[in-house]
Each structure stands twice: as C-alpha cells, then as structure tokens.
C-alpha cells in the first residue's frame, strides 16, 4: 500500500503537466484541473484510511532504504493534513474557474495551482529534512507564479515583500539543514531523531534548532516574523488568497510541529517557552491587527496570523490534550479560512468593493448568502455547534489543565476579540443600509442591489461583457455563479465537523499521540519493526 504515498505526490504533478499541455481552451484545462484534484482527494482519503487502519505508512524512493535514500512517510498527522489540503485544493480549483479571468489563467494558473498543492502534500509526507526544503521551494516558486501574473502595481509591491522575506527564510532553512547534516551526517528525520541526542556539542544543536524555529517561523507567520503576510495577502486574487491563507502558513506550522517533536527534543523547556510566548503574541497581535482594518481581505489576513498562534499553542504547552486541540484547530482553521476568503470575494462581487464603508444592505438583497457568511464567521469565532467551538473548547481545556492562568486568559481574550472584526463585517456589509452610490450614476440609495451594478458599470469598459455577466450572477441571488459550489461544499464540511466532531477529534488525538511519542514513526521509517525488513 505504500505506493499510495507516491500516488498522492504524483497526482498533482501529473495533473500540472496535463493542465499545461491539454488541448482546448480554458474550460478544458480547468476540467482537467478539477478532475486531478478529485483524484487527489480520493487518494488522500484512501491514504488517511490506510494510516488509521495500519499505522504509519512508509515508502523508500529508488529502493534505497531509510537512512540512505529519501523516504516518504504518512503518519496520522501527515495523512490528515494531506486530506485537508486536497479538499482545499479541490475547492480552489472549482472557485478559480469563475474567479481567475482567462487572460490570467493562460499563464498556467491551473498548473501552478497543482504544483503548489504538490509542494504542500510533499512537505506533509516527506521523511527527509532536505527533501522538506525542496518541497518548500516547489511550493514557494509556484506561489510566486500564482501571485504575480496579471498583477498591477499594488500586487507587485506586495509580491516583492512576500517573495523577498520568504527567500530570507529559505536561506536560513538551508543553512540550518547544512549545519544539521554537519553535526549528524544524516538527513533522514527518523534517523536524526536517534542521532541528535548523541551529538557531543548539544549547545550547537540548540543553536541549529533556533535557526529552524526562525526559518519555519517566517513561513508560518509567527509573531515577530509575520510582516510579509499582511503586506501581500490582500493584493491577491481571491482564489489565490484563499489557497495561500488556507495552506501556505500551515505548512510552516506543520514543519515546526514535526521538527520540534521529532528532532529537537533535547532543550525542551527553552523551546517550549519561546514557542508559547510567540504563539500567544501571534494570537493577540493578529487579532488586534484585524480590528484596525476596514478592508475585508486585510481583516482576514490578520485573522490568518491570529489563528497561527492557536495552532502553535499545542507545541508551546506540550501536553497531549493541547497538541490534539491544536491539530483539530489546524484542520478547522484551514477550511474556515479558505471558506471566508471565498465568501468575501462573493460579498465584493455583490457589493462592489472590499471596503466595509462602501458595502451595505446585503442581508436585504441576498439573505441566503448572508446566512452562509454568518455561518462561516461564527465557525471562525467558535460559537457552539460549529467546528471552531470544539477546537477552542479543547484548547481551553488544555489551557486549564496546564495550570497557566495567563495562557488561559490570553486564549479567552483573543477568542472574544476575534468576534469583533467578524461582527463588524457582518453589521457593515450585511446589516447597515447600502451607502449612497458615490458615482451618482445609476445606483440610488434606496436600491442597495445596484451597488454591484454600479461597480460592474465602472469596469464594463475594461472588461466588457464578462464583467457584466459575473455581476449579474453575483447580485441575482442565484446559484449560477460557480464560485458558490466550493463555498457551499466547504460550509457543509464545516457544519459536518461541527455537528459530529467525534471522528475528527479522534483523528487529532491519534495525530497528537504520534507527535508526542514518535516511536511508531521512527520504527516505521527505519524498519526496526516488522514492516520493512
């Protein structure tokens, strides 16, 4: 069954090539892209099932066994995250058909989308630290190619910061991998786990671990290192924002979880303290940033940062309870971020702007859609029957169990503050009356629905019939906008998690147990038990 691991990595790569070479227009390529994502979701689901049934799955590349060759490993955490990433990839690939205009998609949008997902999946599945770096690069270069084409001045400006700061992180990661190899002579993570405690110079190991903390911290947008994220995420097309917000930072979080539970366990107290402080600061700073903005995309970008803090809390506290809660939160966070970004894209289509001041009256014109947004917003905040509630409940339990009152206080305060920007979006964009049409053209104050038409009128010169058509789909409360498909799909998944959190909680428990006691992982990779003689 270990071929399943290779299949999960290969599907997006093959689909990327197919989507690039496929004859026919945009529609045909998009169809290839969606079919590829469906196949990946299927393979990832099979992988997850296999890992749940039979434990850690291992595949050795090129017939070189563990410490020598590159190994792919699926433990419960990796398999779970691959499944979630595939789901988000599917949602984005459907969303992009309508969202990304043909003249931009012609630059290979679908291919790079799949390559990015390949990078994410590869990073979740690899058992080799240098290979992890390579997957990070695959992800990074595809993300560049997704963000820049079709870009205007603002996006170029954001892209410069995103790219430059991510390259700095890459160099730090590469250097620390080099030093790690110098210390131990191996790159296989399971092998490293066995060899690092035996290294003479433990101080140097701590130094290297701090380098890893910084490199992955930049990728994950942890507190003092997050500046690239709010500088760039709001400049992207919505499909790309949703994809990045859902997946990119989480790979950084995953890498932190993996390296600091498997490799750098020697100086636990120091690292735990640093991670805990950074996690709490990330939570608070992120949510404060979200409160200061009026552009919906910037609000959500800061929410992404805030949620990274919640995901690192498990590593900071170090208990099985907290780790499991953080993993649950990670799954919830990935899905809800993708959903919210897609929703605000629809809000902006209906209302003509991302600026809260220019929006309004959407509840009157589009009640069904408003309910979808409310559902997603409440899921993010953590109102009881929704998925965020279980995640935060588990985190609060872990906070109580840890006995650190200030952790608990920060957690609750951040949760409360998370509510504020979401409620502001709700009251500004949905509840208040639509602002009078600033153009003085066809939009009258009394007819809020005209907001969208006004915007479309502006753009009609530039974009012609297409702009008009999409705006009609947006304002007309109808389900004809293809972007509603992934939105409704993700909402149902979140609702499902909220109503029946049991199986995901179990999965998260398994994943946390696998992190805190990596023996199964190490034995699986090195073949010290029966599976790979």
């Amino acid at each position: 069954m270990s071929t399943l691991l290779v299949v999960c990595v290969l599907i997006p790569i093959v689909t990327a090539a197919l989507a690039f070479l496929w004859p026919g227009g945009r529609r045909a390529r998009a169809r290839v892209s969606i079919v590829g994502m469906l196949a990946l979701v299927l393979a990832a689901a099979l992988l997850l099932r296999e890992v749940m049934l039979h434990g850690v799955l291992v595949a050795h590349m090129g017939g070189w066994n563990a410490p020598m060759g590159i190994t792919l490993v699926a433990d419960p955490l990796g398999a779970l995250l691959v499944a979630v990433a595939a789901l988000v990839g599917l949602a984005v690939s459907i969303h992009a058909v309508e969202d990304i205009p043909d003249e931009v998609a012609v630059n290979g949008f679908d291919s790079f989308l799949h390559l990015l997902v390949a990078g994410v999946v590869g990073a979740f599945l690899t058992g080799d630290i240098f290979n992890l770096y390579v997957w990070f690069e695959v992800m990074l270069i595809s993300s560049f190619a997704l963000m820049v084409p079709g870009g205007d001045r603002v996006r170029l400006d954001g892209a410069v910061k995103y790219i430059v700061l991510n390259l700095v992180s890459t160099v730090i990661l590469l250097t620390s991998i080099g030093l790690l190899y110098g210390l131990t002579g191996t790159l296989n993570m399971a092998d490293l786990a066995g060899k690092l405690p035996g290294v003479e110079n433990q101080e140097l190991v701590t130094v290297v671990s701090v380098l890893f903390l910084i490199a992955f911290g930049i990728k994950a947008a942890v507190f003092p290192l997050f500046f690239w994220l709010p500088a760039s995420y709001h400049t992207l097309p919505i499909s790309v924002s949703a994809l990045f917000a859902a997946l990119m930072t989480k790979v950084g979080v995953y890498a932190l979880l993996r390296t600091f539970t498997l490799l750098f366990t020697g100086d636990e107290a120091l690292i735990r303290g640093v991670v805990l402080a950074a996690a709490l600061a990330t939570m608070v700073v992120g949510v404060l940033g979200a409160m200061t903005h009026t552009d919906m995309r910037r609000i959500l970008a800061y929410h992404v940062i805030s949620s990274i803090g919640f995901m690192l809390l498990g590593l900071g506290l170090g208990s099985a309870l907290a780790m499991s809660a953080s993993i649950f939160y990670m799954v919830h966070g990935i899905l809800v971020k993708a959903l919210l970004f897609m929703l605000i894209g629809l809000v902006a289509t209906a209302g003509g702007s991302f600026e809260l001041g220019r929006l309004g009256g959407l509840y009157r014109t589009r009640p069904g859609f408003s309910m979808l947004f409310l559902l997603a917003a409440l899921a993010l905040v953590g109102i009881p029957p929704l998925s965020g509630f279980w995640a935060k409940l588990a985190l609060v339990e872990a906070g109580i169990a840890s006995g650190a009152g200030w952790v608990l206080a920060t957690l609750l305060l951040t949760s409360l503050l998370t509510f504020v920007p979401m409620i502001r979006i709700w009251s500004e964009a949905f509840w208040k009356d639509a602002p009078p049409a600033a153009n003085g053209s066809d939009g009258e104050p009394g007819t809020p629905a005209r907001g969208g038409a006004r915007g479309a009128g502006d753009a009609a010169d530039a974009r012609g019939a297409r702009a008009d058509g999409s705006s009609v789909a947006g304002t007309g409360n109808g389900g004809r906008d293809a972007r509603l498909v992934p939105v409704i799909g993700l909402s149902l998944v979140l609702l499902g998690i909220g109503l029946a959190p049991g199986s995901l909680l179990e999965l998260a428990d398994d994943a946390a147990a696998g992190l805190l006691d990596p023996r199964a992982y190490i034995d699986g990779v090195l073949g010290t038990t029966g599976e790979n003689p």
Partner: protein
C-alpha cells in the same frame, strides 16, 4: 582549509547582511544572492572536506579513502533552486521598478496604505486606483497589468519619498 573556508563564510555572510540591510531593493537582492551562496558554502563545509579523493568508487574502497558526495549533491540542488528563485526575483524587481518607479523599499508602501486597493466588482484583475483617490473618481490611469514607467504620482508622497531617498543617499 576548513579555517580558510570558515573565515570566507564569515566574511561573505557579513557582507551579505550588510547589503541586505540596505534600503535599496537591488542591493538587498545582491545580498540575497550572496547569502544564498554562503548557505551553499556552509553545507559544503559542514559536510566535511576531503582533499583529492574520488566521490564515486568501484566495488572496493580505494587506498586514499573517498569523498562524501552527498554535500555536493545537496549544494547542486540548492544552486539550481536558488538560480530559479533569483532569476524570478530579479525579473520581479525590474517589473516592480517599472511599475512603482522606485527601488527604495521605504517608498514601496502602496500595498499597505489604507484604502490603497479599490476593488471593483466584475473586474477580477482588480484594477488599481491610486491610493488617494476619492471613491467617486473613475480609474484614470491604465489598467494595472501594464507597467507604468513613472513614480507614484500622489500628492503628499513627494515629501516623504524625498526624505526617504535623502536618507538613503546618506546611508
């Protein structure tokens, strides 16, 4: 040999950090290129140096020992990846310079300015109005997907920008 290379790593690292602290994007990128090479040297050095021994050997071990080929393979991979990233970034920097009219990172702030980005429904490319636009103004410049070879023509930006470049010249 290790001492020499170690010293070289130190000097190059210092030089690249100095370059990367610059406010000029181009200097920063030179620093980034340099530090990428420093990272490669670090891998090479950390993998251990072996003088005059072959990395590829036959069935029996040669008398003079053999060199570890893995660090070189890693460095090669890193060089290829680094080359791709650097080429992309240089092109991006050029596009950014064409579009923004500056390489001074203190002036490259249009994305982060409040209300910098006015998105218009239906226009999925998100054509830009300049940051100080009133909502009522129509987008008067070209759709943003063509680079505009002129500085950000905003009122109030001149003073700040001028001060920025003065400071840049001093440093």
């Amino acid at each position: 040999m290790e001492i020499v290379l170690g010293g070289l790593v130190g000097v190059l690292m210092a030089a690249s950090v100095w370059l990367m602290l610059s406010r000029d994007l181009v200097k920063f990128l030179f620093g980034l290129i340099l530090i990428g090479n420093v990272a490669n040297l670090v891998i090479f050095l950390a993998g251990g140096l072996t003088l005059g021994a072959p990395p590829l050997i036959g069935a029996e071990e040669p008398a003079g020992g053999y060199a570890n080929a893995l660090p070189q393979a890693l460095v090669l991979t890193a060089i290829v990846i680094g080359f791709a990233l650097v080429s992309f970034t240089l092109i991006l920097a050029m596009r950014a310079w064409q579009a923004l009219g500056t390489t001074d990172v203190d002036e490259m702030v249009i994305a982060e300015r409040r209300g910098a980005y006015t998105w218009v429904a239906g226009d999925r490319l998100g054509s830009v109005r300049s940051a100080s636009d009133e909502p009522s103004e129509r987008p008067d410049d070209e759709p943003g997907d063509r680079p505009v070879d002129r500085p950000d023509g905003e009122p109030g930006d001149g003073a700040g920008g001028g001060a920025g470049s003065d400071a840049g010249a001093r440093s």
